[in-house]
Symmetry: C2
Subunit: 204 residues, 2 copies
Amino acid sequence: MMTRQMAEGAARAAGRPRSEKAEKSIIEATLELIGEGVAVSELSIEGIASRAGVGKTTIYRRWSNKEDLVVDALTTLKPPIPPLEGDSVRDDLIAYLTVIREESRHTHTRCIMNIAMSDSERHPRLAARFDELAIQPRRAVMAEVLRRGIERGELRPDLDVEMAMAILTGAMLWHTKWSHRAADLRDDLAERIVDEALRGFRPR
Amino acid sequence: MMTRQMAEGAARAAGRPRSEKAEKSIIEATLELIGEGVAVSELSIEGIASRAGVGKTTIYRRWSNKEDLVVDALTTLKPPIPPLEGDSVRDDLIAYLTVIREESRHTHTRCIMNIAMSDSERHPRLAARFDELAIQPRRAVMAEVLRRGIERGELRPDLDVEMAMAILTGAMLWHTKWSHRAADLRDDLAERIVDEALRGFRPR
DNA sequence: TCGATACGCAACCGTCGCGTTTCATAATGC
DNA sequence: GCATTATGAAACGCGACGGTTGCGTATCGA
C-alpha cells in the first residue's frame, strides 16, 4: 500500500515484529473519533494515540501523516451491501433505501458522511477513497436493480438509470438531512419515495 | 440581537463610538474565510482579525466567542430568491434548479453549504440559522411553484409537495455532489431532472 | 545469549490560537 | 480642554498539539 510506511514486503523481519493489535486499535480509535464527529482537521495524533492506548511513536512509525492514517482507516470500512434479489424492483428499491435510511440514523455513519462531504475539497484523496469504498459499490448495486427492472419490463426501456438513482438516493438524503417535519420521517419513508418515483419510471 | 455584546440600545454614547466599518470588515472577512473552505473549527479570531485589518480587541469587544460571530455573519447572507412566475411548472422548476446548480458551481456557496451540513452536529445554532436563512426561503418558493401547478391542473392533485421537493432538490444535489461522469453534468441537467420527475407528477 | 526492532511512556521544543492586558492614538460629548 | 470610550498593535501567560528523542522493556531470529 502506497501510503504505508515501509516494513511491508522485503525488509526481513530482524527484530520484534510490529504489533498487529496496536495497529488495529489505532485504526479503531481513529474511526471511533471520526464517528463521534471529530473532523479530520481536528483529529490529533495525540488524541488517537491516547484513545488507542498507544504511544505516538507507534503511530508515526507506521504513517507519516494524519491523512495517510485516515485513508487507511477508511479502507477498513467494509460497507455491507445488502443482496437485493427481491421479486420486484419495488421491493428491492425499498429494501435498499431502507438500508440507507437506517445507516444514516446512526451518528457514526452520519459523521463519516459529513467528513466525506465537507473535507472533500481539502482532502481529495480521502474523498476518492470514500467514494471508492462506500459510494461506488452502492451505486453498482442500485444500478443493477434498475437494469433488472428494465429487462423484466417493470421499468421504461429508455429510463436513464443514472437519473433514476439520483432521484431515489437524492430524495432519501434530502429527507434525512433537511427534513423538518417529523411526519416526513415516518417509517414508510422508503416506501413513499419509491412509490412516488416509480410512477415516472414505469412503462406507460 | 441576543448574540451581540451590549452597547446597542441604552448605554449612552459617552466616548468614541464603535466603528461601523470595522464591524463590516470583520463580518466580511469571516464570510470570505468560510467561502475559502475554512471550517468553523479552523476559523481563528486571529486570522479573522488580520484579514479584516482589525485588532483582536475589536472583535472580542463585540462578540464573546467564535460561534456568535459566525452566526451574525451568516445572518448577513441574503440569498437571492429568483421570482418564479413562468408560464408553466416545468419552466419554473427548471429555472429554480438552474439557480441551485449555478450556485453550487461556486466554491463560495459550496463551502458555506459544507459548513452548514458538516458542522450541524456540533453547532446546532449555526445549522438552525443557515436553515432559516438559506433553506426555508427556497423551500417556500419551490412549494409555491408546485402548489400553483396543482391548482392549474398541471400536477396531480394528490401530489405530496414535500416529496416532490425532495425528489427534485435531492436529485440536483446528488448530481452536483457525487456525479462522476461529466455527461451527467451537461448544461441541460436541470431540464432532464425536471422532465424525468414530472413524468410521475403529472395527472395521468 | 545477543543483536535488532518494536513497544508504551515521558520529556522535549516549536508553533499556534486563545483571551487578556497594556499602550499610544483617534473620535466623540460636555 | 477634558473625560470617556474605541481603535490597532503588540505582548502576555496558557494550553493544545506536532514531531522527535531517549528510556527501560518486550519479542523476535540467529
